[in-house]
Amino acid sequence: MGKHRPKWQAPGVVFQPRVYQGLQKGINTIADAIRPTLGPLPRFVLNEKQSKAGRPELLDDGAVIARRIIQLENREEDMGAMYLRHVLWSLHEKVGDGTTTAAVMFQSIYNEGIRYIVAGGNAMQLRQHLEEASKAIVDELESQVIHLQGKEQFAKLAETICYDPPLAKMLGEIFDIVGEYGRLDIHPGRSRELEREYVEGMFWDTGVFSREMIPDRVAGKVQMENAAILCTDLEIKEPRDVFSLLEIVIRADCKALLLVATSFSDRALSVLLANREKIQVVAVKAPAIDAATRSEALEDLALLTGGRAFFQAAGETLNSVRPADLGHARRIWARLDNFGISGGKGDPRRLRQHISQLRDALLNVTEPNQRRRLHERIGKLMGGVAVFWVGADTPLAVEARKALAERTIEAMRGAVKDGVLPGGGIALLSCQQTLQKKMKAAKNMNERVAYRILSKAVESPIRTLLDNAGLEPDRVLNQIALAGPGSGFDVVGRQIVNMAGVGIYDSAAALKGAVFGAVHGAALALTVDVLVHMQDPITSYHRT
């Protein structure tokens, strides 16, 4: 979509009823494009991708489909479509899953809301009541949250997200080990299989300054035990700086030293190598590419090892190093392209406080890059890394499966941390009873309508899911109602089951995020009364 440039570049102001008509069509276009992908028996969306291989792209993720639609022909419809696209992409960046559920609910709320408003309802009051009523759904969902434990339960959760049983099984094991905050590095597979490795300790993707520091060329790795560590972002140029440092370390009775610095001159390195008989020194590059992340990494490293990081910006030099500034670790290893430590001798209380502060910060940060950085820092400090290689039959399939794995992992982090809900649309459907009770107790028409709209919206995901599986929603919903609380329809097994009992889950964080995004996004969209067209719309608007 969106290949040619439309002809409608004239400025203007658009009023009702064109506003509602246009926005509604645009919203329905995006929602209808995403709708077929909901559930374990989805249909796909084929995107005419301009890749080098010239192949179209097969999509089954709501957020990605929405992102691929960058423009609609009609200008008012385009604004509606881009509005929903933005809501969905924000949700995707925040919780990683639930975008299709959000799209389906958004569509239901918006269409029902418009019907009420054009019949004389008050948009602003409806918005207020919808937003207030959404709390009832979230509270009801929270009361149903289940916290998972063990690799089997995690694997079942992963399967409900990715529908790839081998991938789900592997992710179940990995999450059981690394937990919601653990570091998980994903790489394209080295074979057709899925492979994983667990690396103990903390490691960074920067390596030694000189091959000469790796005596075992075959293993390509140097190891040290009970080593001292000095972390700095200084550029070490002068041999005399190195001499004074070595003297301090030798005097402190250390037999090995890891020196983490931004750069080393050849002269400084040659001093280190010439003193190999007295003390084993491994010099590695300070992690990270920019100054901010480098100083964070050095601070974390110093905390983990009980040392102090030396910063250029603070005017520090190697001459001011004292024995107490050195960190220590039980084991250190380094290669040409990475290094790691385990058994850091920092104060565990300070380390735990630091991790706790980083976790608190993570709760308040919404910017994706900052969140990723915080996740990485916490993961590193947790004392282990899972490395996961995603293989498949062809390079294109590897790429797609790796993206699927990344998406599943992101959604699982939230689910492991915040718990899960019975899947297959059942958790939302069970909110209907609460909403209908509140509807009966409503004090005015706008409030009553808000509850009625939401009561219908919470049913829309399960209806869509059943429809996608080729089933008759009304008939199946009757069977579910007769089967009692917790029961749902397993569309793969084609039978009524206890959803949590058989391990069909939805991430609680994703579902709550979907409800919040759909209700608040649609409620706000209902209050839009006028559209303003610019002469030449900013192209970046379409790329967000």
Binding site: E225, K345, Q353
Partner: protein
């Protein structure tokens, strides 16, 4: 041959049953000692090693089914010794380098089938062996404090794979057989945990007790998710040992070593009184055992920090 007279700092006494009678191992700086006459006399358990100086022993663990599988493990300052034949022969286990200081040992209740043994260390976190103690690997994912002071394994480990470790900065729990660890929210500012004991029916009711250095005794009844501090105004000394009555499920009695005093509770920790009014010790107590139960009229085995062991 070393005897009771040749004493040194005592870390641990291990009580075990062999052919229906209660015997003991005592882990001392001067080595491992064994008593086969109910604690009256002690002899070195390392005689077969023929060393000039016995290695310091810090922890002992014995197969839960000694008659069918007579395995014994001893944690040392720098290694682990295992005996496959009830202490007649000893062999050194293969451990990660550098040599760790073993502070605690625990054997899977299902050891005869799964061959799993855990070792806590003072700087290197947790080690696990799943081949009856031959090879040990570090299992420290999520363990933010590698200074292990005590460990406790679920009586139903075969099915729940749960174990807890007490560290310098609190408690960590694993629910997957030690593969990964999660922090347990013990109240207080990352308090050192000196002792941990799980109720025999832990699997069904999640009851466990934790003794700390400065914050007294805590109890959890939900597998460590939430904790309640017991007798806050009374228990302020370090709690080095927590013993549960052998029929704890029917009679919820606890005995704790509170500083150098023994205190007993008959109501699952809510109220406490002295175990025996006349039981006063001036020496520093390292550990206690109650081989004949908690009745005030029967003797308890007290191990002093100076290495002496007495029935009182």
């Amino acid at each position: 041959m070393a005897s009771q007279n040749n004493i040194s700092r005592l870390d641990y006494i291990y009580q075990f049953c062999e052919s229906g009678k209660v015997d003991y191992f005592a882990a001392r700086v001067s080595g491992l000692y064994r008593s086969s006459d109910g604690g009256k006399s002690w002899t070195s358990a390392f005689d077969s090693l023929n060393l000039q100086k016995d290695p310091s022993a810090l922890a002992v663990a014995i197969s839960p089914d000694l008659e069918d599988d007579p395995s014994i493990f001893v944690g040392l300052n720098g290694g682990i010794l295992r005996s496959p034949d009830n202490g007649r022969h000893w062999e050194s286990a293969l451990l990660p380098s550098p040599p760790p200081v073993i502070s605690a040992l625990s054997i899977s209740p299902n050891f005869i089938r799964d061959g799993i043994v855990f070792a806590g260390t003072l700087e290197d976190g947790m080690l696990r062996s799943s081949d009856r103690g031959g090879r040990w690997d570090a299992w420290n994912f999520g363990l933010l404090d590698l200074n292990i002071l005590c460990l406790a394994i679920s009586p139903d480990f075969a099915s729940d794979e749960t174990l807890f470790v007490g560290t310098q900065s609190g408690i960590f729990r694993s629910t997957n057989g030690g593969r990964a660890w999660r922090e347990v929210n013990l109240p207080g500012e990352f308090e050192a945990v000196l002792s941990l004991t799980l109720a025999p029916d832990f699997a069904s009711n999640g009851t466990l007790f934790a003794g700390t250095e400065n914050q007294g005794l805590f109890r959890s009844t939900d597998g460590g998710k939430t904790w309640q501090r017991l007798a806050k105004s009374k228990l302020k000394e370090p709690i080095n040992s927590i013993l549960l009555a052998s029929d704890f499920v029917a009679r919820p009695e606890l005995l704790i070593l509170h500083g150098n005093r023994l205190l007993i509770s008959t109501d699952c920790g809510r109220s406490w009184g002295p175990f025996r009014a006349n039981l006063v010790t001036r020496k520093s107590v390292a550990t206690i055992l109650c081989p004949y139960g908690f009745d005030p009229s029967v003797s308890v085995l007290v191990g002093y920090a100076d290495g002496s062991i007495k029935f009182i």
